[in-house]
Amino acid sequence: MDFGFKISPSSAVNLDNVDLTLYNRLLEAEPDICKCIACGSCTASCPANRFSGMSVRKAILNLQRGKEKETARMLSNCMLCGKCTMVCPRGINTRHLILSICKLYKEEAK
């Protein structure tokens, strides 16, 4: 039946159902990932952000919330310029982190 409208799916994250297997594997390779304080320096300095919405902060957060596809999509816009590594106050090697995430997800996709 067509009511002329439809219910949009909930955007809520249910932490009970989040599968963190891949994230935990990433943690082993990149233990510094949990040092992130979500300050947003990486996003603000990212030249790709204006055009594509690329943000390392959001990429990390999406992984923690089980939204891996969104992270993969986001990272495809990264130019690996390394500006985010330069500005990170916690000294996280974000460039290396991005490469590690890509590598892990590629393995997973196989």
Partner: protein
């Protein structure tokens, strides 16, 4: 004759000040309303950031002030102003004449049941930071299952930075206490999933930041920025906690076996009553008003009255102890120089 100094409150501030005043050759008299010394710290288990036992600190302070006159289960009934001193009548019938009063009356823990949306006193699995410390000390609490919770959460800022609860101030110590308690729970139950729901994490003190990083790196505690909006119970009797993950801008939902509310530091109503007897002003945050909030925090606007510890606002243990020593020195100077 040794000068009498009346100390109101036998918590760590009162005890430390009494110990220092004894060393300076005075006669401190401690009036404590409860049946034990050490105040809130005596009910705590371990203290951040070095996890030193609270019991050690309290027993050291008690030993150092053992020569003082101590009245437990006693309150101040009324006060008469004499020419240059006060006649203080205690609830046990004893009257004390003194020129000098030291308020070390401390704080009250926020009553978490006032925040009904968190379900304290409604759901069985909701407890406060102080309940958890009590469990660390005694091992007795029905809310904590023997095998430990599979998932648990900490809610920061309960009754702090909350204008509706009439406590706009930050309680200062809860952020780090939550991190400490989360680590302690993870040490006891390594399999447990632990979440902290926070607004800001205020890691201002020595080694706090290291502590926070260790909680994430070494213990895998998950921090979610967002105030818990609602706690409910599902059909299995577990807690369903809802919040907004403000970093991603999406609502989150999680099922927990245990929820710990970080009750904040609020002003002690009884202190305000006693302050009223002496016509002492209350500051806009509800705590006692010092002569000057920067230079003379330990002095009241009235001569001969001094403050130490959390009666003037939330403070950590080392800050309280430092203030008690400072107040003792101020009292010493006042007696020597009359100023």
């Amino acid at each position: 004759m040794k000068e009498n100094i009346l100390i109101i409150g036998g918590g760590i501030a009162g005890l430390e000040a009494a110990g220092q005043l004894l060393k300076l050759g005075y006669n401190p008299i401690i009036v404590e309303k409860s049946d034990h010394l050490g105040g809130h710290v005596a009910d705590w288990n371990r203290l951040f950031p070095d996890m030193s036992p609270a019991e050690d600190l309290v027993s050291r302070l008690i030993a150092a002030s053992s020569e003082a006159n101590i009245f437990l289960n006693t309150e101040i009934s009324f006060v008469n102003r004499l020419k240059d001193s006060w006649n203080i009548m205690l609830s046990n019938g004893i009257s004390i004449i003194t020129r000098i009063l030291l308020f070390a009356t401390g704080f009250t823990l926020f009553d978490a049941s006032k925040k009904e949306e968190y379900g304290y006193g409604v759901y069985n699995q909701v407890m406060t930071n102080s309940d958890l410390e009590h469990w660390f000390n005694t091992g007795q609490d029905e809310r904590i299952p023997e095998e430990g919770p599979a998932a648990m959460g900490f809610v920061h800022c309960v009754g702090s930075r909350d204008e509706k609860a009439r406590n706009p101030q930050c309680s200062k110590v809860c952020c780090i206490t939550a991190v400490k308690q989360a680590i302690e729970m993870k040490q006891k139950f390594p399999e447990a999933m632990i979440y902290c729901f926070y607004m800001d994490l205020r890691m201002f003190g020595k080694k706090y930041e290291d502590f926070y990083i260790s909680a994430q790196k070494d213990y895998g505690i998950r921090f979610i920025r967002g105030r818990v909006s609602e706690v409910s119970e599902n059909i299995e009797g577990k807690l369903v906690v809802k919040a907004e993950d403000t970093l991603s801008g999406k609502p989150v939902k999680v099922t927990l076996d245990l929820l710990v509310l970080m009750s904040g530091i609020v002003c002690n109503q009884q202190t305000c009553k006693t302050a009223g007897l002496l016509s002492l002003p209350i500051d806009s945050d509800g705590f006692l008003k010092s002569r000057d909030n920067i230079a003379d925090i330990t002095e009241a606007p009235r001569e001969g009255i001094f403050y130490a510890g959390t009666c003037t606002g939330p403070k950590t243990v080392p800050e309280t102890l430092a203030e008690a020593r400072s107040a003792a020195l101020e009292i010493h100077n006042y007696i020597l120089n009359g100023m």
